[in-house]
Symmetry: C2
Subunit: 134 residues, 2 copies
């Protein structure tokens, strides 16, 4: 089974990232977005996350892309890992998400997918004038 992907962020960031990535790649499915909003109780956030993860993991493996290590979405994810079938990559940005969308249908091992997308994220953070000699 192909890995499923969940973006989990503060506020509407996950949803906006997904909207832009779908728009750029022309893809329309295979990724879900979930946000933590101030108005929600901790209990409701946790239960929405657990329901989503249970549903997605049931279908195979799951890669969770969180916005920031140490933030609430990342903390909830790390405290609720489903052993052996769930990987987590922090620091999601647009290039990382686009690579995840492009690779999820060909890289079936979720550990390998996590490694590929985290590397793509790191490589995309470029100090342009310095590194490109402009």
């Amino acid at each position: 089974m192909k890995p499923r992907i969940l973006i989990f962020s503060h506020g509407g960031l996950a949803e906006e990232l997904l909207k832009v990535a779908y728009d750029i790649t022309g893809k329309k499915s295979g990724v879900e977005a979930l946000g933590v909003y101030r108005c929600q109780s901790a209990e409701s956030v946790k239960s929405r996350f657990s329901e989503t993860v249970e549903r997605l993991v049931r279908e195979g493996s799951l890669l969770v892309l969180t916005d920031m290590l140490g933030g609430t979405p990342s903390n909830i994810t790390m405290r609720n890992l489903v052993s052996g079938r769930m990987e987590v990559v922090s620091g999601v940005n647009l290039p990382m998400l686009i690579v995840a969308l492009q690779k999820k249908d060909t890289v079936s091992d979720v550990k390998e997918l996590a490694s590929v997308v985290s590397r793509a994220g790191r490589r995309s953070c470029i100090d342009c004038r310095k590194e490109m000699g402009v």
Copy 2:
């Protein structure tokens, strides 16, 4: 003069990133967000960008954080560099933006700020289970 910061992205990504980063840090100013939407003409996007950059650069130096190298916001930025007073970092994510917000009042050299925030972005893209041994 302290460097000014502009986030320039596809769609509402820049705005959503800024909303979340302000919410987390408690800061409320010093950064602007600009988006490229499909409904806008290339001319109108370019002129909004130029007006914003001119206004911000007039006050000192400017760091532009773009969502993705090779994307429209990044291409527009790289074609309209203001020599010596403007740096560009691609791959903006939440940790990068938070570091930019935290450092912009103490790191007055825009080249140094670009170097610091690009490094923060790269370090934040973590394959959590592998790199943290969870």
